[in-house]
């Protein structure tokens, strides 16, 4: 099997997963939720295999490199990170309703990857030949995935946070808020690491650790937005819906950093 056919299957399965979680939440069906959860694990396994195979394929083509070097590959990795982050959360809290707002992100990332992106395995241009590439991409995307999970939880909070604990698919309001905040903290740490590794890499490649390139600038803005959220909650006692809204705004800046900058602003970051 080729990686691209496995990735098509992955996209399809994520659609099923997302739909399953949605149905489970709307009809309050723990059985459907459990099935969706199994499906999510299976899909992640398939996707992991696809990523590894793509990696191997790149060596057969003689251009061997980790599959994280263009928009297509980064979207796939993003989807993988989101689902993995969510499943870890599910293992910890055992409330499957959150999947309804998070799994769709993974599906959308895969769908966007498979329609409208160049799927070829390309050789690496000199600037991307660096070990820092892996460190930078992995930390950034794990961070983005944590923010996606926080945002999904925020959406759930805004929709269901009023009638606390009527839906047993969802954690209580307090725990939900806690989930949002804790995942934001994890994301913040990873984003910080992502920005730092990016700076070190930029210094080696261009001799400038920070050049106010639009992508760098937007990642800093994202960092500021989450720093505001952390301080607002810690020192100014922001709670509940405000925190949920902040997680949405924060993820909005993440998405702009990821996609908007490429589409609307020009800069050094060729793809992601």
């Amino acid at each position: 099997m080729t990686s691209s056919s496995l990735l098509s299957i992955t996209t399809f399965l994520y659609f099923g997963t997302a739909l399953g979680y949605l149905v489970a939440l709307v009809f309050k069906s723990p059985k459907t939720a459990k099935l969706s959860s199994y499906l999510a694990w299976i899909t992640t396994a398939v996707q992991t295999a696809a990523i590894i195979i793509r990696w191997v394929e790149s060596y057969h083509l003689g251009v061997g490199h980790a599959p994280m070097t263009n928009m297509y590959e980064s979207l796939i990795f993003f989807a993988w990170c989101i689902v993995l982050a969510y499943l870890l959360l599910e293992l910890k809290y055992d409330h499957r309703g959150l999947g309804a707002a998070i799994a769709p992100f993974a599906f959308l990332a895969m769908a966007y990857a498979s329609f409208g992106q160049d799927t070829g395995i390309k050789p690496l241009i000199p600037a991307l030949k660096s070990n820092w590439l892996i460190a930078h991409v992995v930390t950034c995307f794990l961070g983005y995935a944590a923010f996606a999970v926080a945002c999904g939880s925020g959406i759930i909070y805004l929709f269901f946070g009023r009638d606390d604990s009527k839906n047993r698919m969802l954690p209580g309001r307090d725990i939900l808020e806690e989930v949002i905040y804790q995942t934001v903290l994890v994301g913040f740490l990873l984003l910080t690491a992502g920005i730092a590794t990016g700076a070190v890499w930029a210094d080696q490649a261009w001799g400038t650790y920070w050049s106010w390139d639009p992508k760098e600038t937007w990642s800093l803005i994202t960092w500021f937005v989450y720093a505001v959220m952390i301080h607002a909650r810690l020192m100014r006692g922001w709670r509940g819906r405000r925190i949920a809204w902040m997680s949405l705004i924060g993820f909005g800046t993440v998405l702009f950093t990821y996609f908007g900058v490429n589409m609307l602003l020009a800069g050094l970051h060729s793809y992601a």
Partner: protein, 467 residues
């Protein structure tokens, strides 16, 4: 100082230390940074008059929106953030250290009035309950802490136990904030103590100075020679490798050689060389032009470089310049037209696509269309960036410290627990109390879990007895 003015001073100090100011500054900095990604940066003034209306161009240039990140107001905001961080830390550090360092003595132990407290009842004897709570508290206890107990029961027969965890985490936020200051200092060091320049080298060329971005030439205390420039492409034509083989020369002798590649800079003395770009010498052979007069068929002509062509009824044309990618819009040639008889010579660019002439010419001039051009490829030039940047050390250190501080601040918090054990209506009563310095909601969950755990264990003690 009068009482009033000292009051005013302390109010200023408090607001400089406030998190409200921090949040405001972060929001303003974000908005400023957004502006810098919307307005093109670092263009010549004339650009903005084209890019925006006259009024907006004026706004952009006065507010320095053409160079946001070095504008006075952006730097002022950064400086304010630094002051905010310093004052805030100075303000809070003594209190933090005090509450961090204090472990209550058995005599000084008392049940504080805190928001989180709950009573648990059990029928087991106070001694049994005491042992149980002690066991629970020992397992709560974090690194460097100590369970403290009041020695004997007081007049009401009550005894207290205290435990705490994660004391050191209080310093995490200070470490993070310190790291931010270090990074800012790094930026300052880069700007004030470092230099950056671009260097173009032909193979074999020796260089003894660097042209700085500021326009000055900076002499080097050594010489650098490009021995070879290697440019490899993949089969699909995309670049695979750019490499400059450099020799560093002192007193006429080569003291070091280096292979400078993208992502593998070469350092000699203070200066680091980065492989940043390349260029290829192109010598123009000829261009082809189509001259479209108002009437009559278009005339095709070919003009060789450095040779003029005379066109009947029009004048003499020669090539002034050629650019394979003029203003990013494809190839173009600059020509001079010396008209027969009247008028000063005209100089303008001609292009293969409309607008064919830049700047546009009047109706008395026929339209020139560039049809083709041939240039002979010459040798490659290596484009190197030459830097000295002491700021990078600050970035390394600041980055590492920040990550360490974040891990500590975000995933630990200083939590304190008290239990008061004494006789109750139906046996023994335990009052559990807890406080935390940060992340209250997750602490509340933890506290609830502790209460539940204790209730279950107490119930366990009873059923164990009944058997």
């Amino acid at each position: 100082m009068s009482a009033k003015s000292s009051q005013g001073a302390s109010r200023i100090w408090e607001s400089l230390a406030s998190v409200k100011l921090a949040v405001t500054l972060l929001i303003l900095l974000s908005l400023g940074a957004v502006l810098g990604t919307v307005v093109p940066q670092g263009q010549p003034q004339a650009f903005y008059h084209h890019w925006a209306s006259e009024a907006w161009a004026k706004v952009i240039l006065t507010a320095q929106l053409d160079r946001v990140y070095s504008s006075f107001w952006f730097l002022l905001l950064v400086a304010a953030l630094a002051v905010n961080l310093i004052v805030c830390s100075l303000n809070r550090l003594p209190k933090t250290l005090k509450s961090m360092g204090s472990t209550p003595t058995p005599e000084g132990l008392h049940l504080p009035r805190v928001r989180l407290s709950q009573s648990v009842h059990g029928s087991a004897s106070p001694e049994e309950v005491h042992a149980l709570v002690r066991e629970k508290f020992s397992s709560l206890q974090g690194i460097g802490g100590r369970v403290v107990e009041s020695g004997r029961a007081d007049a009401e027969g009550e005894r207290l136990i205290f435990a705490q965890t994660g004391r050191f985490s209080r310093l995490g936020a200070y470490v993070v904030h310190l790291a931010i200051l270090i990074l800012m200092a790094g930026g300052l060091a880069t700007a004030l103590l470092g230099f950056k320049g671009n260097v173009w080298l032909h193979p074999g060329q020796v260089l003894d100075h660097i042209d700085l971005r500021s326009g000055q030439a900076m002499p080097l205390d050594f010489k650098v020679r490009l021995d070879k420039f290697i440019f490899e492409k993949y089969e699909d034509g995309s670049p695979k490798l750019w490499q400059s083989n450099l020799s560093f020369i002192r007193d006429g002798k080569v003291v070091e050689t280096a292979q400078c590649k993208v992502n593998h800079p070469a350092t000699f003395g203070k200066v680091t060389f980065y492989m940043s770009s390349y260029d290829q010498e192109k010598t123009l052979d000829y261009i082809g032009l189509e001259v479209m007069d108002k009437d009559g068929p278009p005339r095709k002509i070919r003009i060789k470089n450095k040779e003029a062509v005379s066109l009947e009824g029009l004048g003499r044309i020669e090539i002034l310049d050629y650019d394979p990618n003029w203003r990013g819009g494809g190839f173009a040639a600059k020509i001079r037209l010396v008209r027969e008889g009247a008028g000063a010579p005209l100089e303008f660019w001609v292009r293969p696509r409309p607008p064919f002439q830049m700047p546009p010419q009047g109706p008395e001039v026929p339209t020139f269309k560039l049809t083709d051009a041939r240039a002979k490829a010459g040798e490659y030039l290596a484009g190197l960036q030459a830097n000295y940047d002491p700021g990078i050390w600050f970035v390394w250190i600041g980055g590492i410290i920040m990550l360490l501080g974040l891990v500590v601040a975000l995933f630990w918090s200083h939590r304190r627990f008290w239990a008061e054990i004494g006789p109750g209506q139906s046996g023994t009563r335990v009052v559990l109390a807890g406080s935390t310095q940060s992340n209250r909601p997750s602490f509340e969950l933890k506290f609830k879990a502790l209460v539940k755990d204790l209730e279950e264990s107490l119930a366990g003690l009873e059923t164990g007895k009944k058997k």
